[in-house]
């Protein structure tokens, strides 16, 4: 992530415009290449050496200094340093300081050189050059001296895309909520988006909206305290969430950005901004939990097929949810499952409230036993007409013993 001093943006008439770089800019690609080469060669060198070398590249041309420092910061984020304590040096210091403390408490020195002479004797240092190095050696384990352990490399072009993403993320750190419009689609990318949303413990409201001639889903994303404060408490979560937005084929975000003691400005971006996704997308990959679920289901029945959730499901009123799984029966019956883990208390209460006593929504609710331990949740589950028909509990992962009776009842009803 980029710190505030490394962000480049312009504010005009209340609108904030991140200053993206062109990922095809030959000069920046060349600088990126040089920096990456330095970082690739850095393992086993000291942090200060690495920084001096990269500084040399940054200073070699006078333009784009902030961009180059930003690129350096992103490369540093991918670098691991050896931060383990140097026990030998710590012991050396402990012994030396015990002695210097004794000297300074008891003896009067005619001048500093006399003291230095005495300390050198204690440390067993005789030659003049070694005396000079004694001080340098004393704190040779400070962060600047830490050796590089590893660096996760990337291509120059990928670095520039990362830089553009980081420009947006850096702004989102200073926002309190964002609104995301997504075109109506059935894509696996959406599943990843909602995973990010839940993982970052954000709250959302999903509404259907018409923009121009197109139907789209408007998702407002923020945190519980946003109801009361324009807090940037969730800025980091929103910045992380943005990575998943980039995978959507058609999107637009609007966010209010407010720097400390400054007026707020509006950030608007859509897929035409040209930033490529920086995280890997595993569309063909079947998540482990789905695979396990599939295997368990196949062991019990061939009548149902399970798929990862990939579309919005309308709920009573004007609301929507994004279920985790979709199940399709050989007869064509479709049903969805939404799972609630221990940290989804607010989400579950909202869902049960929305569903109310209605049983028309084909949504099965799975609730973690840990979450059920909370009396308010247990009571909400007990009194929910929907949950009594379409609800089950689970410990780590849902079991077929709990799920199949509900699935069978759906087939029976349909007959």
């Amino acid at each position: 992530m980029l710190t505030k001093d490394l962000l480049r943006y312009k504010i005009r008439e209340g609108q904030i415009y991140p200053q993206f770089v062109k990922p095809t800019d030959s000069q920046l690609l060349s600088v990126s290449d040089q920096l990456i080469t330095v970082f690739e060669a850095s393992p086993n060198t000291q942090r200060s050496t690495l920084l001096e070398t990269s500084k040399h590249i940054i200073d070699s041309t006078p333009d784009n200094v902030i961009v180059k420092r930003g690129l350096e910061k992103l490369l540093l984020d991918r670098t691991e340093f050896d931060t383990a304590p140097n026990e030998e040096l710590i012991a050396f210091r402990q012994n030396l300081f015990t002695e210097t403390s004794r000297l300074l408490s008891q003896d009067m020195f005619s001048n500093y050189e006399e003291y230095l002479q005495k300390v050198s004797q204690i440390a067993g240092v005789e030659s003049q050059s070694e005396k000079g190095e004694l001080g340098d050696r004393l704190y040779a384990d400070l962060p600047n001296c830490q050796p590089v352990l590893s660096f996760k490399t990337l291509s120059a072009q990928h670095l520039l895309h990362r830089y553009n993403t980081a420009q947006v993320q850096g702004l989102l750190l200073h926002c309190n909520s964002l609104t995301l419009n997504l075109s109506e689609s059935m894509t696996a990318e959406l599943r990843q988006l909602f995973k990010y949303l839940r993982f970052n413990q954000l709250l959302s409201t999903i509404r259907k909206k018409k923009i121009g001639n197109d139907d789209c889903f408007q998702i407002t994303v923020d945190g519980p305290l946003n109801l009361f404060y324009k807090t940037k408490r969730y800025g980091m979560n929103l910045a992380n969430f943005f990575v998943a937005v980039l995978h959507q084929p058609k999107w637009e975000i609007t966010a209010e950005i407010q720097f400390r003691n400054k007026r707020s400005s509006r950030l608007y971006l859509n897929e035409s901004c040209g930033i490529k996704p920086i995280s890997q997308q595993f569309l063909a990959y079947i998540p482990e939990d789905i695979q396990l679920f599939q295997d368990m289901l196949h062991n019990k029945t061939d009548d149902w097929q399970i798929h990862p959730g990939s579309q919005f499901l309308p709920l009573p009123g004007d609301f929507y949810c994004f279920p985790d799984y979709q199940l399709i029966h050989t007869s064509g019956i479709e049903v969805w499952i939404e799972l609630f883990h221990p940290w989804h208390q607010g989400h579950l209460l909202a869902r049960l409230n929305t569903l109310g006593a209605q049983t028309g929504t084909p949504l099965i609710i799975g609730v973690s036993k840990e979450l059920q331990k909370q009396s308010i949740i247990a009571e909400a589950m007990e009194t929910s007409g929907h949950f009594s028909k379409f609800g089950f509990t689970f410990r780590d992962i849902p079991t077929m013993g709990a799920l199949l009776p509900i699935l069978n009842s759906l087939v029976d009803i349909d007959r």
Binding site: P62, L104, Q345
Partner: protein, 458 residues
């Protein structure tokens, strides 16, 4: 109608079935259409419960996850009269509020007595890891029971837990309903943009703030009082000097730079000031510094000016002449316990390297930090160099001499640094030396600082 229910959710309260007639009586609750419930910030818990009781409104409270807990203080020490007054004032204020006492006046001891009085699981908030460990030791010593640590890589919750503000901001949304008493040490930090959420996300009905200086430059102490309670007791350093604090004197030494340094200083300062003038930057305004940072990054000339700014600052902070004075003072105070303070880590390490002294900064690893602090307390080390980590709270009662090589210029910092050497010991006469570079901006800052009462009465 279903009874009103209150539950805790990620630093907020969820309220279900709130009768319409009551909604206007609870000003901080709002309808949350994301969850279709009413919601309130967690810190309004006490207010909401009081209102419900006042209206004889039945309710189910699943938010509160703590009960009465007896904490027996194993050390029977009588408080000083002013400590008893502070305790009474806090009780009279409804078991809320800020107690403001100088460093060394026994704020921690007051907190210990209030934990024992209040009998609720308690979460102590502190600004630094060093203070977290210090509180841990004190709590263990007094209550002889498990004490939890949350912060600096530790994640253990107990009925008595110490956490850093930083960690509490992250984790209070998860455990903010488990403590009945919240203590905010060095509570002037609490109104910070992020730190305030440590208090907002907690339901603790009883709250105690401890500080030597509640006032803030940004005037946000009103936020502190809103979250913790009004300042219910206050005593100044000069009221306790010689009684419960050591006698002290402040000696300011104006230091002449060496000729070469003076030339370098003047040149760098001129470059810096010329740029300010040309770029029309007024450093006297609240935005001055940020404007300078921004404008200086935009051109080569600006970058040169920024380097010049750093050079002149560094020369006034750590001139060779100041180092000579450090040497003289170390020699003058042979046998004393000396703390040397600097504004930045670089200067601290310069001094540590030159005189072969232990340096304590935020870069010092935990094990060595403890070794340095313990070594200083037991006399193994007679001198400790530090930048800012010892400014606040950390207890080094043996220290009797402080040498301030450089500082931020804030009154708070100087009062806190003075506080490090004021803990009473038999026959102790504390001395604080300030080394000020002559004819530099340090001199003006020093003159402004000397208007504080800690200086005026001496």
């Amino acid at each position: 109608m279903d009874p009103l229910k209150i539950d805790f959710d990620k630093g907020t309260l969820i309220l279900q079935n709130v009768p319409e007639s009551l909604q206007s009586q609870l000003p901080d609750i709002l309808w949350d259409e994301r969850t279709l419930t009413h919601r309130a910030p967690a810190y309004r818990y006490r207010h909401i419960i009081s209102q419900l009781r006042a209206h004889d409104m039945p309710y189910e409270d699943t938010a509160r996850q703590f009960t009465v807990k007896e904490f027996a203080n194993q050390k029977q020490v009588s408080p000083y009269p002013y400590q008893s007054e502070a305790i009474d004032a806090w009780h009279a204020n409804g078991k809320r509020g800020v107690i403001s006492l100088p460093t060394g006046a026994g704020k921690t001891f007051i907190a210990i007595l209030l934990i024992a009085d209040t009998q609720r699981p308690t979460l102590v908030h502190v600004p630094t890891i060093d203070l977290m460990h210090q509180w841990y030791e004190v709590l263990k010593e007094h209550f002889e029971q498990e004490v939890g640590l949350y912060g600096g890589g530790q994640h253990e919750l107990q009925d008595l837990t110490v956490t850093t503000y930083q960690s509490a901001v992250m984790h209070a949304p998860h455990y903010g309903n488990r403590f009945g008493l919240a203590i905010y040490d060095e509570c002037h930090h609490l109104p910070g943009d992020q730190y305030q959420y440590a208090a907002i996300s907690s339901i603790a009905p009883f709250r105690l703030g401890l500080t030597a200086t509640p006032e803030r430059v940004d005037g946000k102490e009103s936020r502190l009082y809103a979250l913790v309670g009004e300042c219910c007791y206050e005593a100044q350093v000069q009221e306790l000097s010689g009684k419960t604090l050591s006698e002290y004197r402040v000696v300011t030494i104006a230091v002449d730079m060496q000729d070469t340094e003076r030339i370098q200083y003047e040149e760098a300062r001129r470059t810096y000031l010329d740029f300010l003038k040309k770029a029309r930057i007024n450093m006297g305004t609240s935005r001055g510094w940020h404007t300078f940072l921004w404008k200086s990054s935009q051109s080569e000339e600006g970058r040169v000016a920024f380097k010049a700014y750093l050079t002149q600052k560094q020369l006034s902070f750590a001139s060779a002449a100041k180092q000579e004075w450090v040497w003289k003072l170390i020699q003058r105070h042979r046998g004393d316990r000396i703390l040397i303070f600097t504004q930045d880590n670089d200067t601290a390490y310069q001094i540590g390297t030159r005189f072969f002294l232990p340096v304590l900064t935020h870069q010092t690893k935990l094990k060595e930090r403890n070794a340095f602090l313990n070594g200083f307390r037991d006399g193994t080390f007679s001198i400790l160099v530090t930048s800012k980590v010892l400014n606040e709270g950390v207890d080094v009662p043996e220290a009797n001499v402080a040498i301030i090589v450089s500082g931020s210029g804030s009154v708070r910092e100087h009062v806190q640094r003075l506080g490090r050497i004021l803990r009473k010991r038999e026959g102790k006469q504390a001395v604080l030396y300030e080394l000020i570079s002559k004819k530099t901006s340090e001199q003006f800052v020093n003159q402004r600082r000397r208007q504080h009462h800690a200086y005026q009465t001496r």
